[in-house]
């Protein structure tokens, strides 16, 4: 590439830096970073790798908590609303990242910033108030202990400004529960990697943003033309996933939807199949979860609209309402064999209130249920709770206990792996985790999904390339069966590359390449980047250069900060050993040999060393990451150059 590589639009142009230990607040240019990384998560990753010294722990003051709105956030580009939150992953010790939509990211940019980089720890609880290029730390003792919706309501009342947007932690983050989320709009979670735990450890309750400013694009008429093209494309493709307008999870209202048979893990991994009766009980339109959906809402600039607004009347649990109930909610609740819709919705909304990552709670608490069933723990250990499959009230009580570190909740609060060490008795075998982070993901049926989850640089989550076949994800035109190990690596790498671009630009992957609708493609991204940012790039530049920079920065962070290796990219042992017990995929397991073959191809496609999965100096230099290669050399993590034939 030898074309125009300066950023000339789209960004606010500044990074806000806040040291909570000293109170120092400063700003810095963001354009130089974005020219190299494309912005968003890429810039967050570059800052982390430049500034965090190996050996730093997640709870050291030197750990950074970086918020980064994507380069196109705040414009009318479809779905451009996403913010990345990056830090040290509290589970793996490597790269942590969580991505969130909602109105906070655009407001940050209207306030004049693309990123906020938090360092240090406040002595007392504070919140950060960011308005129009300025920021101040304010006392948050009066907010400490409040749930996410209480915090939002109290801040809105105190600040008398309808236009503020808030990112906050709940009691879970305050209590440094490892699986804590940062909540935006009270309902959208930056959930993985323990980002809320890091925020709580820094005594930072919330970040309030308010901006009255504007975002300029490089070529306004050209950009609006690209936006119009993108909108037409979204409309043309909408029927491919017509359920989306009724919320993303509405696909599961179709009891024959293939996701029922490829996505679920049941009873903590004892099976991967739910019969029609349980599906219907959970998702029927008369009495199931959909009956409590009152509306569907959209994030900023989004033509898809996938977030349900729910109202759950008082029943065996208190009345609750709010946005939420996601595909992960179905994947979570089957782990407990709970098909009761009241429990399922209460679980989700309560986790939002308390600021918990639902994947973390579902996977780690379901593991405790299995420990209980196997007699590894008893009622003496569970505060009298009967952790039996299908016991909804016990699950709801466990969610609360985890957030407040109460009784048995204290056992899980420092991470499920730590809990497994305390319980002993080979209990870790039953814990589904990848690189230390508990996981709700299926590994035995959808091979490309398992590969994408296993190789995620942020540990065990499905947003970094997991694919489930042409009707759901993966490149259009590549016809592959999600249960067939062939072709998966190619699809996973393609999906992973597009996600790099989506997270750098801040475009929701549902509007991008994820849902099977292919609303937008990398060709759209290139046109939006040319006209919006002023970078003269082709689709190929984006997919081969910028996406590779993003993934390699995270990979390098892991190599610098952890001992993670090839074996850590494989599915949990249980799913390799135990087969699915029932349903059409009965007998399936995560076949190690075939996973190894997929890994070989996956590493080769990313141009990494096939034996070790490590990066090579030659490829890092090709990407202009000589400085990163030198850091890796210092750690002796860099391997010999790749064979040119790869």
């Amino acid at each position: 590439m030898n074309r125009h590589r300066d950023i000339r639009g789209g960004l606010a142009g500044r990074i806000l830096r806040v040291d909570l230990s000293t109170g120092a607040i400063s700003t810095e240019d963001s354009l130089g970073y974005a020219a190299r990384t494309l912005g968003g998560r890429g810039t967050n990753s570059l800052i982390l790798i430049n500034e965090i010294v190996p050996g730093t722990r997640w709870d050291d003051p030197e750990n950074l908590l970086c918020f980064g709105a994507g380069s196109l956030v705040g414009t009318a580009a479809p779905g451009a609303c996403r913010t990345d939150v990056s830090t040290i992953n509290v589970f793996s010790g490597g790269k942590g990242s969580a991505n969130v939509g909602g109105f906070w990211g655009p407001e940050l940019k209207y306030a004049g910033f693309d990123h906020i980089v938090i360092r240090g720890k406040a002595k007392q609880p504070v919140y950060l108030y960011v308005v129009d290029g300025r920021a101040e730390m304010r006392d948050a003792n009066w907010l400490w202990g409040k749930t996410t919706s209480q915090t939002e309501a109290m801040l809105r009342k105190a600040l008398h400004d309808e236009g503020i947007e808030i990112a906050t932690i709940g009691p879970a983050g305050e209590n440094r529960v490892r699986g804590s989320a940062i909540m935006v709009d009270t309902a959208k979670a930056a959930g993985g990697s323990g980002v809320g735990c890091v925020m709580g450890d820094k005594n930072l309750k919330a970040i309030v943003v308010r901006g009255h400013g504007k975002i300029d694009v490089f070529d306004p008429p050209g950009f609006m033309s690209a936006v119009a093209t993108a909108y037409r494309q979204c409309e043309a493709n909408r029927e491919k996933v017509s359920s989306m307008r009724r919320s993303a999870v509405a696909r599961f209202e179709d009891l024959e939807f293939e996701g029922w048979e490829t996505c679920l893990v049941v009873r903590n991994g004892q099976d991967d199949y739910w019969d029609m009766g349980k599906r219907a009980r959970l998702m029927n339109s008369e009495t199931g979860v959909p009956s409590m959906r009152r509306a569907v809402r959209a994030c900023p600039s989004c033509p898809t609209g996938c977030m349900p607004y729910m109202e759950k009347p008082r029943d065996k649990y208190p009345e609750m309402k709010g946005e939420g109930f996601w595909i992960n909610a179905v994947m979570s609740i089957s782990r407990f064999d709970i098909s009761d819709p009241e429990t399922a919705l209460s679980f989700w909304l309560l986790a939002n209130e308390l600021g918990l990552d639902t994947d973390y709670v579902a996977s780690s608490v379901a593991w405790l249920f299995e420990c209980y069933e196997r007699g590894l723990i008893s009622k003496k250990d569970t505060d009298g709770l009967q952790l039996t499959w299908g016991n909804g009230p016990a699950l709801i009580e466990m969610v609360r206990k985890v957030a407040y570190r109460e009784g048995i909740g204290e056992l899980l609060a420092d991470g499920a792996l730590e809990a497994a060490k305390k319980i002993g008795q080979n209990s870790e075998y039953y814990l589904s985790h990848v690189k230390g982070q508990p996981s709700i993901e299926p590994f035995r049926i959808p091979a490309g999904w398992g590969l994408g989850v296993g190789t995620s640089p942020v540990a065990g989550r499905h947003m970094r390339g997991a694919v489930r076949g042409p009707g759901h994800s993966g490149p259009s035109g590549l016809d592959f069966d999600s249960t067939d190990y062939r072709n998966q690596a190619r699809a996973v790498v393609w999906q992973g590359k597009t996600k790099e671009l989506e997270d750098n630009l801040g475009i929701c992957n549902y509007i991008g390449t994820w849902s099977g609708a292919h609303f937008l493609t990398p060709a759209n991204f290139a046109e939006l980047v040319r006209t919006g940012l002023g970078l003269e790039v082709t689709e190929g530049d984006l997919m081969d250069h910028y996406s590779a920079i993003g993934r390699n920065l995270e990979k390098a962070f892991n190599s610098l900060h952890t001992d993670l290796g090839r074996e850590d990219d494989l599915p949990p042992q249980r799913f390799q050993r135990e087969a699915v017990k029932s349903g059409p995929h009965q007998g399936s397991r995560a076949e190690k040999d075939q996973y190894e073959d997929m890994l070989d191809e996956f590493y080769a496609l990313w141009r990494w060393d096939k034996e070790t999965g490590m990066q090579t100096r030659a490829d890092l230099e090709r990407l202009g990451l000589q400085d990163v290669a030198e850091k890796l050399d210092e750690r002796l993590a860099c391997r010999e150059p790749l064979d040119e034939s790869l």
Partner: protein, 89 residues
């Protein structure tokens, strides 16, 4: 000149109308400088929408940008003074 009417039942609260209106008026994306203001609170599900006198019916554009970019079909142009226009939020 026509005016813009919103059907609240169809509106998803995405604020695209607000942004593209600001683009028409200013040439950039500037929500404060838009004739349309949208706000919503996730705890109630309510979307508030208003339009003020800065709306010029997108003179100089081929079509009203807010109507053209509303993916949900919630906006339409109505004749000024019509009953439908009087009912708009």
């Amino acid at each position: 000149m026509g005016r813009i009417s919103r059907d609240a039942a169809l509106c998803y609260g995405c604020r695209t109308c607000q942004l593209v209106c600001s683009f028409h008026l200013t040439g950039c994306f500037w929500p404060e400088e838009s004739s349309i203001q949208v706000s919503r609170r996730p705890q109630t599900g309510v979307v508030r929408w208003s339009i003020d006198e800065r709306c010029d019916g997108c003179v100089s554009e081929q079509e009203c940008l807010c109507v053209a970019h509303c993916a949900y079909g919630a906006l339409k142009t109505v004749d000024a003074g019509s009953a439908e226009e009087a009912d708009r939020e």
